[in-house]
């Protein structure tokens, strides 16, 4: 692989933001036909490096060199236009697509003069050729708004390839995908690399990096911590390289389930597709973690909505401590000891322009803890926030820092502090570690298991089966709005759960027989 010509070379890239050195003398070479994984925790400098490469930031030192007609030439710093022209294509974690246009229109966008007639045929032919070569199958004529997340990502990749990209950079591409969609993406990437493209794959998920890459570059604290060939790499060793110290695996002790604290009895919910439920039975017991598996959009958000207090069953009963819940009222649930972690923590979990202290208090702002006679008790809010920052290691400037300045992992710690500090009896953890790095993940898992050991009933909803197997004492699987009991996690394997996720609800029984 390393005999292939170098497509792209970063030499001694250094970037400082004030006192922080985000990239410290980082060098890397990318060869033709190679998939290079850039691995590191949140804040290790991966995104900064790619933003320099793509011209969004100007480096303080170092060069970006790209293979052109006359060998490797340095790109002018700070010019995305030059990067595009040199054949660098970037797929951002948050898509940059015009939702109201078709896939084809999005792919052509920005490549042609304002008034261009009759060129659509040529463009379509070119895109279809790329689709045939890469396997990036997607309906080009549908509005992007109607596409699934995975399809939108394909449009983004096609957009880069349409511009004759030689180097494709993908920033956390699997963060928004289901495991199945991620596997599909890996197939495409291997095929693209085989056709001669150079791919840089940014990730903090070890498993997928091992699965797809040829070479791994590990960043830590803005420095290159190590560079290794994937075939010779060992999972444990890479994890230690990333974090800089040995990560203690979270150990789950056997559960001792108690009373049923929250129960759904024959619950149906009519709502938008993906939210609907029919005849769901679910019991959450004290001191037990229930893992909810399922392909995204099969009713997880319906169940989460019920337990979050955003909806009430259309028919059937939801009971909290034996009493029927009749009103969709998040405040009543919070006051009764239900802790809720939202699926999309940036969107639903925090108000970005409000302070950390405000966001810690937001669920209970009307309670006596944070207000008196309708006036805010700022002192109490700040005290709680200061304690939360210390207790949960929330990295921020202080209680008055705006929440939007926090990284994803720190937002999740803020939410953990908000909901767990009250000593909740029922916990809903919806995608608790999506987008978090190894260190933060372990911390969240430890907190959830500690709450369980304290006697809380926990429901974990996750698309990450590894996470569910690490946390859950019992599995349930949701498919097409129906919930199926998969039993205790001991004796279950990924294959059985996978079959149930695909709708074969009796997979467990069949396997047993």
């Amino acid at each position: 692989m390393t005999d292939a010509p170098v497509l792209l070379s970063l030499q001694n890239i250094t970037k400082r933001f004030g006192a922080l050195t985000a990239n410290d003398g980082i060098s890397l070479d990318l060869h033709r036909g190679e998939i290079l994984a850039l691995l590191g925790e949140n804040g290790a400098g991966k995104t900064t490096l790619m933003n320099i490469l793509f011209g969004h930031y100007v480096q303080d030192e170092g060069d970006v060199r790209v293979l052109g007609d006359g060998g490797l030439t340095a790109l002018p710093p700070g010019s995305p236009g030059a990067a595009l022209k040199a054949g660098i294509g970037m797929v951002h974690q948050h898509f940059t697509l015009a939702e109201n246009l078709s896939g084809l229109a999005n792919i052509r966008l920005g490549t042609e003069p304002l008034l261009s007639f009759g060129r659509e045929g040529a463009a379509r032919a070119k895109v279809q050729k790329i689709i045939a070569e890469s396997g990036l199958d997607v309906d080009l004529d549908r509005r992007v708004a109607d596409l699934t997340v995975g399809e939108k990502q394909r449009i983004e990749i096609l957009k880069a390839l349409y511009r004759d990209a030689k180097v494709l950079i993908l920033d956390e591409p699997t963060a928004v995908l289901t495991p199945q969609e991620a596997d599909g993406l890996f197939v495409v990437l291997r095929r693209l690399a085989a056709n001669g493209l150079g791919v840089i794959f940014i990730s903090h998920k070890l498993g997928e990096v091992l699965a797809v890459s040829h070479r791994i570059l590990v960043l830590r604290g803005g420095k290159k911590a190590g560079e290794l060939v994937t075939a010779d790499a060992d999972r444990r060793a890479i994890a230690d390289l990333m974090v800089g110290k040995a990560v203690a695996a979270v150990v789950r002790t056997p559960a001792s389930p108690g009373d049923v604290l929250l129960a759904l009895e024959n619950v149906s919910l009519h709502g938008a597709s993906g939210r609907s439920l029919s005849g769901v039975d679910l019991k959450l017991r004290a001191g037990e973690v229930v893992g909810l598996a399922g392909v995204s959009g099969n009713g997880q958000s319906g169940i989460a909505g019920l337990i979050s207090g955003l909806a009430v069953p259309t028919s059937g009963t939801m009971r909290l401590y034996g009493e029927t819940v009749t009103r969709a009222d998040p405040r009543a649930l919070v006051a009764n000891g239900v802790a809720r972690m939202p699926e999309d923590r940036q969107h639903d979990g925090v108000v970005g322009t409000m302070s950390v202290a405000d966001n810690i208090a937001i669920e209970e702002v009307r309670s006596a803890a944070f207000s008196k006679m309708g006036f805010l008790d700022r002192k109490a809010m700040r005290e709680r926030a200061t304690a939360a920052i210390a207790g949960y290691d929330v990295r921020c400037q202080g209680p008055d820092a705006e929440a939007r300045l926090l990284s994803g992992g720190n937002v999740q710690k803020l939410i953990l502090a908000r909901v767990l500090e009250r000593g909740p009896r029922v916990i809903l953890a919806n995608q608790p570690t999506r987008g978090l790095d190894v260190g933060a993940q372990a911390e969240v898992h430890r907190r959830i298991l500690a709450a369980r050991d304290r006697g809380a009933a926990v429901l974990v909803i996750s698309e990450d089966l590894d996470e569910l197997f690490a946390l859950a004492d019992r599995f349930v699987v949701v498919h097409a709005g129906e919930l199926h009991d998969a039993g205790p996690s001991e004796g279950l394997d990924r294959g059985t759960i996978g079959l149930m996720m695909a709708g074969q609800s009796h997979a467990r029984a069949e396997m047993a027989s």
Binding site: P330, T353, I362
Partner: protein
């Protein structure tokens, strides 16, 4: 050399005030061009405008008189915009507030001033508030855009007022002028100083600004309004009743605009007519934007806009340059503030570093 934009983490208070001041200044500079075309000297014209707005006790009192409804409509817009409720209907709410004041205060009730004035004010507040609550309910129930509803309601309200002052509410003693029966003396707002038009409505406006400032910073309601305005989804998830909070904002917003109408009818004119407001409701939008939606800033911005209008009238009488210059200054100030808000969000960097070939 290239120009680069970098997002700012946070704009300080000094910068925010500086951008607003600079916007006003740039607007004045730009308006100097049409003043030159009109054959006048910008320096003389602006000198006369300043004199006309602040040059004497009478001039200053007229500016304050003009600022009074602008403070209230400005606050009406500021509080609504903060919650991302786009109330463009302060003009109509002002008229409905004035109408309520006339209906109650022209003989329906006989009360001493100490009771009559608060009654008239509460009626005007509630009537104006209702005019904003209705579009908000329609928005929440049917998803209709409140910008369109409130904007169009302005015309409905003004035509309705015209009908009333030509018909059922017409003053038989008005020599045929389309104006309503006058308010009773008990319902009129006392003047602040003898022989000047300034009235207690100004105090009401200042107190309202102070109360709103306290509400936003210190109260649970202010907290909830901020949360709903900044991120509805997170507010809903956290259990803040989003619709109810929006309705409270609507009531406060429309109510403040209604109070502006009460002030004009009970403090200045004494009767209702369809030319009660020369666009105070629309100017309130400009005032709120100039103030960066800050309640205290609204008072200052209202003073600025009022001074421009009063000063331009006076300047126009002395030089013959059209007083429409005032509209130009106010409109350009708004545009400059919008441009300025860009500089609050981004830092402009002049990159002199030579490009590597």
């Amino acid at each position: 050399m290239t120009i680069r934009l970098e997002p700012r983490e946070d704009a300080g208070l000094g910068l925010k005030i500086g951008v607003s001041l600079a916007a006003g200044l740039v607007a004045l500079l730009l308006v100097a061009i049409p003043v030159l075309f009109a054959g006048g000297s910008p320096l003389t014209a602006y000198g006369l405008m300043i004199q006309g707005a602040f040059g004497s006790m009478f001039a200053f009192s007229e500016t304050l008189n003009r600022a009074t409804p602008l403070i209230l409509t400005g606050l009406a817009c500021a509080v609504a915009f903060r919650a991302k409720l786009w109330n463009i209907g302060a003009e109509g709410q002002l008229y409905i507030g004035a109408l309520a004041a006339v209906c109650i205060g022209s003989g329906l009730l006989q009360l001493p001033p100490a009771l009559m004035i608060p009654t008239v004010m509460i009626a005007g507040f509630l009537a104006g508030g209702l005019m904003m609550v209705i579009p908000t309910v329609i928005k929440q129930r049917f998803g209709a855009d409140e910008v369109v509803i409130t904007l169009l309601l302005n015309f409905v309200v003004i035509l309705f007022i015209q009908m009333l002052v030509e018909g059922p509410l017409k003053d038989p003693l008005s020599m045929g002028w389309p104006q309503s029966v006058p308010l009773l003396a008990e319902a009129k707002l006392p003047k602040l100083l003898p022989r000047l038009r300034m009235h207690w409505g100004l105090i009401v406006g200042l107190v309202a600004a102070l109360v709103l400032w306290l509400m936003v910073r210190k109260t649970v309601l202010g907290f909830e309004i901020r949360a709903v305005g900044e991120n509805k989804a997170a507010a809903r998830f956290a259990g803040i009743p989003v619709d109810a909070t929006m309705l409270k904002v609507a009531l406060i917003s429309g109510g403040l605009a209604g109070l502006a109408g009460v002030g004009e009818v009970a403090g200045v004119k004494g009767y209702l007519s369809s030319d009660l407001s020369p666009g105070f409701g629309y100017s309130g939008i400009v005032v709120a934007m100039l103030a960066g939606l800050s309640p205290i800033g609204t008072v200052i911005a209202a003073l600025f806009v009022a001074a421009v209008f009063v000063g331009a009238d006076s300047m126009s009488r002395a030089t013959g340059i059209s007083s429409y210059i005032a509209d130009l200054v106010v409109a350009l100030s708004l545009l400059c503030v919008l441009v300025g808000s860009f500089f609050l969000r981004f830092r402009v960097k002049w990159d002199r570093q030579s490009v590597v070939a």
